[in-house]
């Protein structure tokens, strides 16, 4: 029968291998997705469906940690522990620690992957606006707006006629979630700051929540969303029209969160 030290070493080695395999799989998923984007002539949504399949497969690796612990490791550790040594309880905590850590890495990886794929898609699709489009009345070259991803009225500078430019689907898709994914990656450091404060808050009991910690969270929360929406305007000029509405929505979400987390559902302390 294996000793306590041997069992712990074997268990640690198993967890290290799982983590390595998980990270290697994420790397392989990124390579596959980036390659598929080019091979499909920048069909972002097909690549996105592939990623969902890969994500499900990679997430299954985490399930192996639980299963191995329950089926093999814990019974062996319990068998050799005496009445005063519950070392297996500490070993069991490694399951949730690693699972949570891998889950967090997956979330960050997804933001990175979507951001990179979207940037590649954007760099390709934005060139559609550089193609030669001519006025339907006099044939002069028209200038297409590169920050408006829908049909546009384009006035010919030569004959003053108003033309209607109807872009191909790929150009319109830039305005869907492509831009948001690029900005989400760009604003990730600000999102991290928000997560740090949120973690601080979650470690406190409700009674320990002070105005100071909530104000701190409010500051990083609005700093993130204001930056996000302002960055969006740089890419999409028509996003300016909904800026105030977007901020108002986030304000409402913040208040709802504060009401449910800090107070009871009726908003009474």
């Amino acid at each position: 029968m294996a000793t306590k030290t041997e069992l712990i070493q074997r268990w640690d080695s198993f967890l290290a291998k799982i983590e390595a395999r998980y990270l290697e799989s994420l790397q392989q998923a990124e390579e596959a997705c980036m390659a598929q984007l080019v091979e499909t002539d920048y069909d972002y949504y097909t690549v996105f469906r592939s990623w969902q399949g890969m994500k499900a497969q990679i997430s299954n690796i985490v399930k192996k940690i639980d299963k191995t612990w329950d089926d093999n490791v814990r019974p062996q550790m319990e068998a050799i522990s005496d009445h005063n040594d519950y070392f297996y309880e500490e070993e069991g905590r490694k399951v949730s620690r690693l699972s949570d850590n891998l889950h967090y890495k997956m979330q960050r990886f997804q933001t990175h992957l979507e951001g990179k794929l979207s940037q590649k898609f954007y760099d390709h699709a934005i060139t559609i606006a550089n193609q030669n489009f001519n006025c339907s009345q006099c044939g002069s070259t028209l200038t297409i707006k590169k920050d408006l991803f829908r049909s546009q009225y384009v006035t010919c500078t030569a004959c003053n006629s108003v033309n209607i430019f109807e872009p191909e689907t790929k150009f319109i898709q830039i305005g869907w979630d492509i831009i948001d994914n690029i900005i989400a990656l760009k604003c990730l450091p600000l999102h991290d700051k928000m997560d740090v404060v949120l973690d601080e808050m979650r470690k406190l009991r409700k009674e320990e929540h002070t105005n100071e910690i909530w104000n701190k969270y409010k500051t990083v929360y609005f700093n993130y969303w204001k930056t996000f929406f302002k960055e969006r305007i740089k890419f999409k000029s028509d996003a300016q029209e909904r800026y105030e509405e977007d901020i108002e929505r986030k304000k409402k979400e913040f208040e709802e969160y504060e009401n449910s987390y800090r107070y009871n559902k009726y908003g009474i302390k």
Partner: protein
């Protein structure tokens, strides 16, 4: 070593939905008045022909181009 996700890649391409509404090319066109044949000039109300007054849209609001 081959990428372990090749099968998923192939499946997603095989099961791709073809959308009828997908537009493969961008187009440029100009609305011309059915009555007098004039195009719409810049800085004018796009709901009405600026030359003969024919209404293109049955709304009272004024619409001007983005550019």
């Amino acid at each position: 070593m081959a990428n372990p996700f090749e099968k998923i890649i192939k499946n997603s391409e095989k099961t791709k939905k073809q959308w009828d509404s997908e537009k493969k090319d961008s187009t440029v066109d100009a609305k011309q008045c059915n009555t007098c044949g004039a195009p719409r000039p810049k800085k004018t109300n796009l709901t009405t022909c600026d030359y003969c007054g024919t209404r293109f849209m049955s709304i009272d609001e004024k619409i001007t181009p983005d550019l």
